[in-house]
């Protein structure tokens, strides 16, 4: 795939000066919309997860007219609901040396110096307010006997700053945002459109002014206009087919915006989660994550000898390799996710993997049960153990769990500035759908933090500045018609092919290409191979897919086909981005770039930048945003 290099890109919205003061300064310099005018302004928010739900609720409450969209039957079902482990915040309630600065520092370092300092600092600052907000809404976080909030530690951090609600933190936080949203629906400030899928962005006069959606029940194509559009449509990990994401997660909304001019940043940064239940068969539709908190007490090991097929209980201690504790004595089983994932892959590649196909390692609670007692372990992890048993049919109290890495989170997404505005004026992107704060390796418990920071606190301020500079005039009718025709044409095309393969079969094949060639480890050769295979599979898709039913009804095959079609285009850009970035950093591991110990080797000389891709008729254009580190000195990450 050919690409050209374009001009450098810069974020012009982050104020200069001491990093602690930048957000305050930006808030102060942002223009305000007077309350009477807010009522006249229409904002569209697509997505009702932590990012979109909190944003729509807050904007509604500020007095704007908000239209909120999601593809599920209720906003409460957005994928954020599935987050288990917890949410970080620099509250330092434990007095263990945490601070805003330390959370900032850990996050920049954890992102392998590929995130923006200003954004990350703001995230750490706002994290404190998120906990207050959630508690005020009645989110039932875990508490100590003294009545105060409990915290725990999480992979990659040495302080205890993760707030949690048993293993269902995402659910409880989302319900808080959802209830705030429904409160606004009742108040009439937010109009809710469930079972509606955004299929196109309307750009008029160079500004985002609306969206085209399909009512997924009736099939009707609708136009919705606004003064600004917010995309909060989540991550695109489902490009790999098998992932921990909900089945409906997709790239459609952000990809269409990309085609309309929004730059796509760092598409290749995919986070692989080290503790998922291994694949058990061809029919498998998704992978289930076992919370990373299990690594607090569970010990990870494989047999010392390759091909050792004895039952785990029959393998004596001196024939077990607790490889994380051996290689990383300081962090042990709590090393960050990219390191834990790759280490698992390495031992499996050596033939020491366990379970069917040798793609698994043990996560063993034997020692924890001996030390703390079965009851204590059950109290702490009972629901997770039960979930494991339900899926695998094995009892983790009597034999170790088997785990293997899986695709989990995408750090890439649409490029946004400090205001969370994309390269299309009036198009704001928040939560997992943007690229902003995580760099190459999002640490645990920071995505929830970012989604809520964006939705409750950042966007509601910055979007006001944009709106205050309006009004932006009438929407160009032709732009609307063009967007609508594009949607209809695509649907008609998909329904008319009537080939011999289902959308799912294409998706599975695409996912396998992505996992094998653009997964945990990439090489120039593998990426070139993927870039050959994807276009030919896409060509077959458009010639041979079979979509049954009609457009004027609830048609889940049609929905699926549309999403798979967009995944093809995204997959190609991901591979290109991975190919161009000839360094290893966090979630992007190029086998050619590693040190003598097999650790990721960054190339700060050539790659200390965000790769922001522009879509043009002549192919992708790469714009680089240089990353400067004034506060956290760039250094090789070491968890040894």
């Amino acid at each position: 795939m050919k690409y050209t290099e374009g001009t450098e890109i810069r974020d012009t919205k982050a104020p200069a000066g001491p990093i602690e003061e930048r957000w305050e300064k930006r808030k102060f310099s942002a223009k305000l919309v007077n309350p009477a005018n807010k009522r006249k302004l229409q904002v569209i928010v697509v997505g009702t997860g932590l990012a979109g739900g909190s944003a729509a609720a807050t904007l509604g409450e500020l007095g704007y007219n908000v239209k909120s969209f999601c593809y599920q039957d209720s906003p409460r079902r957005a994928h954020s609901i599935a987050a288990q482990g917890g949410i970080n915040a620099a509250k330092n309630y434990r007095g263990d040396g945490d601070s805003i600065y330390r959370l900032f520092y850990d996050t920049v370092k954890g992102g392998d110096f590929r995130a923006r300092e200003s954004n990350v600092y703001r995230l750490a600052q706002v994290s404190v307010n998120i906990i207050d907000q959630a508690v005020a809404q009645g989110v039932p976080f875990a508490r100590e006997y003294g009545g105060l909030l409990d915290t725990r530690s999480f992979g990659g951090a040495q302080v205890s700053r993760t707030f949690y609600a048993r293993g269902q933190t995402g659910q409880q936080l989302l319900l808080g945002a959802y209830q705030a949203l429904e409160r606004q629906v009742a108040a009439g400030t937010v109009e809710m459109f469930t079972r509606h899928e955004m299929l196109e962005l309307i750009v008029s006069d160079g500004r985002a002014r609306g969206i085209i959606v399909r009512d997924m029940v009736t099939g009707e194509i609708e136009r919705h206009m606004a003064d600004a559009v917010v995309l909060a449509t989540g991550g695109y990990g489902n490009v790999f087919y098998l992932s921990t994401n909900a089945k409906g997660c997709n790239t459609t909304a952000i990809w269409r915006a990309h085609e309309k001019g929004a730059y796509f940043a760092n598409p290749c940064y995919t986070q692989i989660h080290p503790t998922c239940i291994p694949v058990s068969g061809e029919y498998q539709s998704k992978l289930t994550l076992m919370s990373e908190s299990l690594r607090n007490d569970g010990r990870v090991w494989v047999p010392v000898a390759a091909g050792d097929t004895r039952a785990p209980g029959d393998i004596p201690d001196d024939e077990r390799d607790y490889y994380l504790e051996r290689i990383y004595p300081a962090f042990g089983n709590l090393v960050p996710r990219d390191i834990a994932s790759r280490a698992a892959k390495n031992v499996c590649d050596e033939g020491r993997g366990v379970g069917p196909g040798g793609l698994g390692v043990y996560l063993d609670f034997r020692d924890a049960i001996n030390r703390l007692g079965r009851d204590a372990v059950e109290k702490k992890y009972g629901n997770l153990f039960e979930m494991y048993e339900r899926i695998t049919g094995e009892d983790p109290y009597t034999q170790p769990m088997r785990i293997y890495p899986a695709v989990h989170y995408t750090m890439g997404g649409l490029w946004v500035d400090y205001d969370l505005q994309s390269t299309i004026p009036g198009l704001f992107v928040i939560g997992e759908a943007n690229f902003s704060d995580h760099g190459a390796n999002r640490l645990g418990a920071s995505a929830l933090m970012q989604g809520l920071a964006d939705g409750y606190f950042v966007l509601p301020t910055t979007i006001g500045d944009y709106l205050a500079n309006g009004p932006y005039g009438e929407v160009d009718e032709e732009a609307v018609a063009e967007a609508e025709i594009k949607v209809r044409t695509k649907i008609d095309k998909l329904l008319s092919i009537n080939g011999t393969r289902t959308p799912d079969s294409f998706h599975r094949e695409l996912g396998k290409i992505m996992w094998d060639y653009c997964g945990m480890e990439r090489t120039e050769e593998s990426l070139r191979k993927a870039l050959e295979l994807i276009p030919s599979l896409r060509e077959e898709f458009w010639r041979n897919v079979k979509v049954s039913g009609s457009a004027e009804e609830l048609n889940q095959v049609l929905e699926k086909a549309g999403r798979v079609a967009d995944f093809f285009d995204l997959a190609e850009l991901m591979c290109l981005d991975a190919l161009v970035r000839t360094e290893s950093c966090g979630g992007h591991f190029r086998a050619e770039s590693q040190d003598a110990d097999g650790e990721a080797l960054r190339d700060d000389e050539n790659f200390a930048h965000v790769s922001a891709w522009e879509h043009t008729p002549d192919g992708p254009v790469l714009h680089k945003e240089p990353l400067e580190y004034e506060y956290v000195k760039m250094s090789q990450r070491s968890y040894k």
């Binding site: 609901i81 508690v135 809404q137 009645g138 269902q168 209830q179 429904e182 079979k546």
Partner: protein, 246 residues
């Protein structure tokens, strides 16, 4: 294993619907129930037939989107389990399995096994929240909460809004769902100021949506995937009585 499926097919709310028989062949015991349906659907699509529509998303038992009545039981016979977490190892080779949508007047069928549960959202709109604006909350530690209360509130808050309780109830009552929501907030100090008004408006909305009354048959807790206990309903009723006594 091989199974015979008897599946409710209904093209839309106006269609009267019927049971249709399908064969599910070579089912692996490791499959989830939804994966088994995926495989059947792949075959239907290729044969040019309309695949069976069903709702699902997370497939981890947490979003509450999936739900069907399997052999007469909401989410199937395995207790405390959503349909997506139900695995085929619990079925016998050669068995016949009937699959139907939630049946309740306030949950109209959209298509096949997909029903409209938006009534639940309207119950929340009626008062299932704490009225706090964003951005001005006091420090989270300013209000200690007894651990027992926090834990009980959490237990009630785990309701996933699936609607199985309604489908299982002979009266089509939404009491367990509504009570879970009310209990969650009424156990926390943050929920106190609006507590009584909340109970009144949510219960009134539940009635307005056409859900039936609760006669304590307990079918709801038996099928609830999150084990929401019956005593939440007592708590709801007591708050509701207080509201009406005023």
């Amino acid at each position: 294993m091989n199974l015979t499926l008897k599946v409710w097919r209904q093209s839309g709310p106006k269609d009267s619907g019927r049971m249709v028989t399908y064969q599910a062949k070579d089912v692996s015991p490791d499959m989830s129930f939804l994966e088994m349906l995926d495989v059947v659907n792949e075959q239907l699509i290729l044969a040019g037939d309309d695949p069976i529509a069903f709702d699902h998303d997370c497939r981890e038992g947490i979003c509450g989107m999936c739900g069907m009545v399997i052999n007469g039981v909401a989410h199937g016979e395995q207790r405390a389990t959503t349909t997506c977490q139900l695995h085929m190892r619990h079925f016998e080779d050669g068995a016949t399995v009937t699959i139907e949508p939630w049946r309740a007047a306030p949950f109209p069928v959209v298509k096949d096994l997909v029903v409209d549960r938006s009534a639940f959202d309207r119950i929340i709109q009626a008062g299932g929240f704490v009225s706090v604006p964003a951005g001005s909350a006091p420090d989270a530690h300013s209000l200690p909460v007894r651990k027992e209360d926090a834990d009980d509130a959490f237990d009630a808050a785990t309701c996933i809004g699936c609607g199985a309780c309604v489908a299982a109830c002979p009266n089509g009552s939404a009491s367990l769902f509504t009570a879970a929501k009310i209990t969650h907030l009424s156990l926390l100090p943050q929920g106190q100021p609006e507590r009584i008004a909340r109970a009144k408006s949510m219960v009134d909305q539940m009635d307005a949506e056409g859900f039936g009354g609760c006669t304590n048959t307990g079918e709801c807790t038996a099928v609830c995937p999150k084990g929401i206990p019956l005593d939440t309903i007592a708590r709801m009723n007591s708050d509701y009585l207080k509201a009406n006594a005023k």
